[in-house]
């Protein structure tokens, strides 16, 4: 008997009586999603910037980041700022100072943005970069994680992730420090 068969038969033998799946409660949407998103993101160490359009994002990022290191931009309209993630080997992104990525949508209750492989090209990009800029449409703000999974639905992706703020840890210094292994800062542009 293989270990797989052994485990499955033990689970089957000890299976408790099945219970009905509890009702899935869908919370109502709430007012002022933008205000909530902004304040939560600031609370977890990120920065939210409301911009008129991509031109506004471009001029902000240009002022902040141009000449400060390698920039990778996954948004065609912001191509002027940096290269596309054309490299095949993820290790080649180790010296990226700023990555600019689009997100499918953002969640107001926890200021997370949802991105998938399709938008990133390279899965490692938002983690390996020193600093992260995300562009998302204001119209794509949802209230809670329940609404988020409503949008994701049965969509197909090889890899998808919620990113909420810069990476952080309190495991090393016993007090919270921003910038563990992932990006040291996160700026979200809402347009």
């Amino acid at each position: 008997m293989s270990s797989r068969e052994r485990i499955l038969s033990a689970v089957k033998k000890n299976q408790p009586e099945l219970t009905e799946l509890v009702a899935y409660i869908q919370p109502e949407s709430q007012e002022d999603l933008l205000g909530r998103f902004t304040s939560v993101l600031e609370g977890i160490g990120g920065t939210a910037i409301v911009a008129q359009d991509l031109a506004g994002v471009k001029s902000y990022l240009k002022e902040m980041w141009q000449g400060k290191g390698r920039i990778v931009s996954m948004i065609p309209e912001l191509q002027e700022l940096g290269e596309l993630a054309g490299e095949a080997d993820p290790h080649n992104f180790e010296n990226v100072e700023l990555a600019i990525i689009p997100a499918h949508f953002a969640v107001a209750e926890n200021s997370a943005v949802w991105v998938t492989e399709e938008l990133l090209q390279q899965r490692v990009l938002p983690f390996i970069t020193q600093n992260l800029a995300v562009v998302v449409s204001k119209a794509r703000l949802v209230a809670t994680m329940h609404h988020a999974y409503d949008i994701i639905g049965s969509g197909d992706y090889g890899f998808g992730t919620f990113i909420a703020g810069p990476s952080k840890t309190a495991d090393i210094e016993q007090s919270l420090v921003l910038g563990a292994h992932g990006s040291k800062s996160m700026t979200v542009f809402l347009i």
Binding site: K13, Q15, A112, F127, G158, A164, K168, A180, H181, G182
Partner: protein
């Protein structure tokens, strides 16, 4: 400063290693994907750079549908550090092109615990750590005193399932104050299970001779007023003599 030093040091490891082993927070039966949550980004740095990703999960990590992940992601970080959600909640469904992805499903006593009706509730644990942060015993003694991988109140009810003899002491190291059950987001009756484990362990002869003997002596003393008073007098005399010294 220390964190920055660790970041630089470990970055080199992430960039040069060919295989990455991660845990799994939730696995979704409906879609076959799994979710790994970190605040540091260590799981993602490892998994997306390595040629081989090996994800190890307990068989109890399975949840029915993708939409249920939202509920658990909310619960996990709120109950762990008080954050609204973990910084990275990564959903893996397929390996990236050219990468190998292996998922190891671990039993390690879980199927046995499933068969123990009084204790199977402990398998609901999502490892948030809320019971540890609230536990007066854990906060004084720290993780290593539990001499098992999972510390705190939840560790004390999981460990005896693996080895009753080796972990017989853990369910007794509790005040049964119930704070753990109070904060548990998935409503495990932790302090009740600690109490139940004591009975199981004593019946199994894991309590030790001293514990049995002292309980018998207590029973003898407390069931007779005469003996109780004499014992009280003897105690006071003994205490008084000690103080004179």
């Amino acid at each position: 400063m220390l964190t920055a030093a660790a970041r630089i040091h470990l970055r080199e490891k992430f960039l040069t290693r060919r295989a990455a082993i991660t845990g799994v927070n939730f696995a979704i039966a409906e879609t076959g994907e799994f979710v790994v949550c970190t605040n540091e980004g260590n799981a993602d740095m490892g998994a997306h750079l390595a040629d081989v990703h090996i994800a190890c999960m307990g068989i109890e990590k399975l949840i029915p549908q993708r939409k249920h992940t939202g509920i658990y992601l909310r619960l996990l970080a709120r109950s762990a550090t008080g954050q609204p959600v973990t910084t990275y909640s990564s959903h893996f469904r397929r390996p990236r092109e050219g990468q190998q992805l292996h998922i190891v499903l671990v039993d390690n006593g879980r199927s046995t615990q499933l068969g123990r009706e009084e204790f199977r509730n402990s398998l609901k644990c999502i490892r948030c750590g809320a019971c540890m942060n609230t536990c007066p015993v854990y906060r004084r003694s720290g993780g290593h005193s539990y001499h098992t991988a999972i510390a705190g109140p939840i560790g004390a009810i999981l460990a005896p399932n693996l080895d009753m003899k080796q972990y017989a002491d853990l369910p007794f190291a509790s005040t049964l104050c119930g704070s753990c059950s109070n904060v548990c987001p998935v409503k495990i009756d932790i302090h009740d299970q600690l109490y139940k484990w004591r009975q199981v362990l004593m019946k199994d002869g894991q309590g030790g001779a001293m514990k049995g003997l002292s309980m018998k002596a207590m029973n003898f003393t407390l069931s007779s007023p005469g003996v109780y008073r004499t014992a009280g007098k003897a105690g006071r005399w003994f205490y008084g003599t000690c103080r004179l010294w």
